[in-house]
């Protein structure tokens, strides 16, 4: 639930910003490695919140919105290549189902991972990010994405089939 913010009600937005900025940065750092990229992403999330002129009073709805929007933005930036090389590692590793710290495995198939990152449907990536990076259970992913649980299961199954085919075709 949220109420439309009355014009110039800075105090309410500031309170929301102060309380939730740390969790948004933390969420972004699970998706992108570089702190400056994570801080940039977090700032963009709050620009969106500001532009919506909304103050979300209910913690459930607010946190769901923040998770959904930050995930959208991270995937969008990764696709537009506006993240640093370092920051792309996590999302690319997610597609390749690899440990992001496994440098050899990562470099061996970097090109394939990049092309896969561009070809995996956005909603599958969103569900995978929420599941693998944020450890969300299916009902939580359904809540954040605004879809049914069976849709979440289907998205993750498709995503797993894609990553499996990547691993099988890797040299």
């Amino acid at each position: 639930m949220k109420t439309r913010m009355p014009p110039f009600d800075d105090a309410a937005f500031e309170d929301c910003y102060r309380r939730t900025y740390p969790l948004v940065v933390s969420k972004c750092r699970r998706m992108v490695r570089g702190h400056s990229d994570a801080a940039d992403l977090a700032q963009e999330v709050f620009v969106r919140l500001w532009n919506h002129r909304t103050v979300v009073l209910d913690v459930r709805a607010l946190t769901a919105w923040l998770y959904r929007t930050s995930t959208h933005l991270a995937i969008d930036r990764a696709r537009r290549r506006s993240l640093s090389r370092d920051s792309l590692q996590h999302l690319e590793a997610l597609v390749g189902d690899q440990n992001p710290d496994d440098a050899e495995g990562r470099l061996a198939s970097r090109q394939e991972l990049r092309s896969m990152l561009g070809s995996v449907p956005t909603r599958e990536l969103e569900a995978a990010v929420l599941s693998r990076f944020d450890r969300l259970a299916h009902p939580e992913i359904a809540e954040v994405m605004g879809v049914a649980e069976r849709t979440v299961r289907r998205l993750l199954e498709r995503f797993d089939r894609r990553t499996k085919s990547i691993k099988e075709s890797a040299p």
Binding site: M1, Y21, P22, L23, R30, T54, V55, R60, P100
Partner: protein
Amino acid sequence: MTSAPDHPSFQHSSEHPSFLALDRAALGHAPAAVTTHVAACDRCGAYVGTAREAATSAAPPAARAAPPGGLALVRQAALERRRRRLWRGWSLGAGGFVAAAAACTVLLVVGTQSQQQRHVPAADPAGGLYLGSKGLPSVWIYVKRDGGPELWDGKKPLASGDRLRVKVDPGGHDRVQVYAMRAGDNPALLYGGRITQGQGTILPDAWEVDASPGPERLFVVLANRDVLPAWDKWLRGEVESDVSLLPFVLPKAASDNGGTAKP
């Protein structure tokens, strides 16, 4: 929140709550199971503890806390974006007008040359992918006292005799119910009906605040099906995933005895 691992865990662990559940716990919104786990688990306890500290401390850890001046940057970026949109809208509008005028001219010329030529629809220009935020439900509460109705700011206390109107944008839902809760009772239905998706609608009823004690507690329930309230579960935070339960607590002025909205 500082205790998050430096790289994501690739093994989904059902032993620990999700980061979303831990973040909610840090913001004071945790089901009993999560609270119990956080109290017993060093790792999750540290995550939630650090998160709470970062969100509430006057001098939180620099790497995680909202940066000084960050809010000003948010405002500035938002204003610049709005200016760019206005400019882009104007440019597109002006460009569209010129293009339309040019197209009319071309059509007139072509039309006179070949009146039997068939119209071929333009190809869909949408080649790119748009990533936007799905619309969230919004609720506006209007309070009418002496003058005209005012949008409730989320803090201003109500007084006996105030009249409330509720405007709802249900997002992707098409049914709305409004409940008011009296102390000790389950919420009572004030309004229920269908509503247009994605459109702000002022509900037809108004409610007057009476002089009973305690704050007003309103619940707005949104769904895409007829929902029977399950308050025992809902008030514990166990709400079905396809139902949105939006609670509002409207404080009363101290000089008032308080009250509950009545139709």
